[in-house]
Symmetry: C2
Subunit: 298 residues, 2 copies
């Protein structure tokens, strides 16, 4: 069996097709690595690129992508609904098959060093690769965003792990790290009032009296004129998709809003969806490890 | 990649543990074949056994199972909610990996011949293996059940494909054949009135103005004192699980009944559940072939 690692970087461009395609090409043309999907959000002004392959293939594709992004994306000109700090904003490595988190941490360090040396972007290691507890959470690193980063990196607590102690003038800084599979899941509401999405986002998070393993922000989808609760599910095995969906429905009801649809960004493990099917179909005594045929074939 | 065929025979015993275990052991101890699951229903007085393996392994296990069943199960003493005609009632072969329907038809003929010769049970080939159109549908073959079979096989239209033109006195007759993956799915209702399950079963079938690719009967679960709509989904890619579930909910509502739970018997393809998750979670623009990680690993 071959080692397979996934990467799901976000680049800070979701509108200009030529820029997006050039960045995606950096991945598409790298041997040992398969481009699986890319998905652009004009409101976020951000594109998620998903690829998978051998550790070596994914390393090459990731460094090439950073080089393309820094030459094509100018953060001083960037506007979007989603917080961001770099041309490649975040680059996670995820163990998929025959690989450990340890190997993904090693890969993130090799890629981080090369991005600093070859693309001239300062790099913060985050999540499982973080070099200090306060640097694990991406939101902490990104706080202040691109515009506040020049001052932030002068703070001894926020010296980048690789590269200059200066922000790249147009490319910003990048977070690179290893993490378990995460599900990017957005819930679209029947309202154009973003403050409703904001309030729901704050409530469904653990700190707001909501669910564990849920990160959420409220966002406006300008092109559809609807508000969205944009969610990261950090452990779908403990906090399933249906639970956050039903909680958002319940909280939206107080504002007379309902769910018009959801979005699954990038890839998702089979079991995350199967667990929600079992809930909604009310399947009794269901053992997915035994009863789902594919579990016997992998 | 190795050829993998699945078989999901039903035996006519769902109560006596020693008999069930002896039949299951016939599969469990056969090399080249993996027992995946067995599930007994005392109301049906019936056990479903699921196994998978190489064509050779599955052939051996299937013949051994028929020999065990004929020596242990006496249909003259059998009572149960579910229609039945043999000690092994039905034995389907399903292509799972690197195999064609044609190979499963060949396997069903080899197994059918051996069951007739080695277990002395007359065999009807059914579904894709049927030797005449009126013998494709299992319900047609089984009509009259064990008690009516002695007379039925004297009809030239119902001469068994293998073995005597006589019913085995205690073992009855067996249907053996090849078919695509089928989902055995039961919906339990909040009523002890089996006539409600019966009426819903008739309505949700194509012939009753209901759904294509759905076979259904109403059954009483005596031990829980509730009625059940027992369903076979013959093509989940066209008629998904959520649709039949929602239709049963809608039809049950007219009787003030609701769904208390469902049962998935045996194995189910991943995509059947993922399609229902996508429906209930309202996922927009979802491409399961791209977005489900496991689709890239199989």
């Amino acid at each position: 069996m071959a080692k397979i690692i996934e990467s799901v970087p976000n680049i800070s461009e979701g509108v200009r097709t030529d820029v997006i395609e050039s960045c995606v090409d950096a991945v598409r043309t790298t041997p040992g690595c398969t481009l699986l999907q890319h998905s652009s959000d004009p409101s976020h002004n951000r594109t998620v690129i998903t690829y998978m392959g051998s550790p070596e293939g994914v390393e090459e594709a990731s460094v090439k992508l950073a080089k393309a992004a820094v030459s094509l994306i100018d953060l001083t000109q960037h506007k979007g609904e989603h917080p961001r700090m770099g041309c490649v904003d975040v680059m996670p490595f995820i163990p998929i098959k025959e690989t450990t988190m340890e190997e993904c941490i090693e890969l993130s360090k090799r890629v981080g060093q090369r991005i600093a040396e070859e693309a001239f972007l300062p790099v913060f290691l985050y999540e499982a690769s973080a070099t200090a507890p306060h640097r694990q959470n991406l939101a902490n690193i990104r706080k202040g965003q691109f515009e506040g980063m020049a001052e932030k990196v002068r703070d001894p607590a926020w010296i980048p792990d690789f590269g200059w102690q200066r922000v790249h003038p147009t490319g910003g800084v990048v977070a690179v790290g290893a993490r378990p599979p995460l599900i990017a899941y957005n819930i679209n509401l029947s309202t154009s009032d973003v403050s409703i999405a904001d309030r729901i986002a704050k409530i469904i998070r653990q700190a707001g009296g909501g669910l564990a393993n849920v990160k959420a922000i409220g966002i406006m989808l300008e092109e559809r004129n609807i508000a969205q609760v944009s969610i990261n599910m950090t452990d779908y095995t403990k906090t399933p998709l249906y639970r956050v969906t039903e909680l958002v429905k319940a909280e939206a009801a107080r504002y007379g809003a309902h769910v018009v649809g959801t979005e699954l960004i990038g890839l998702c493990p089979m079991n995350a969806l199967i667990d929600s099917a079992a809930y909604y179909l009310q399947i009794e005594d269901f053992d997915r490890d035994v009863q789902v045929i594919e579990n016997h074939l992998l």
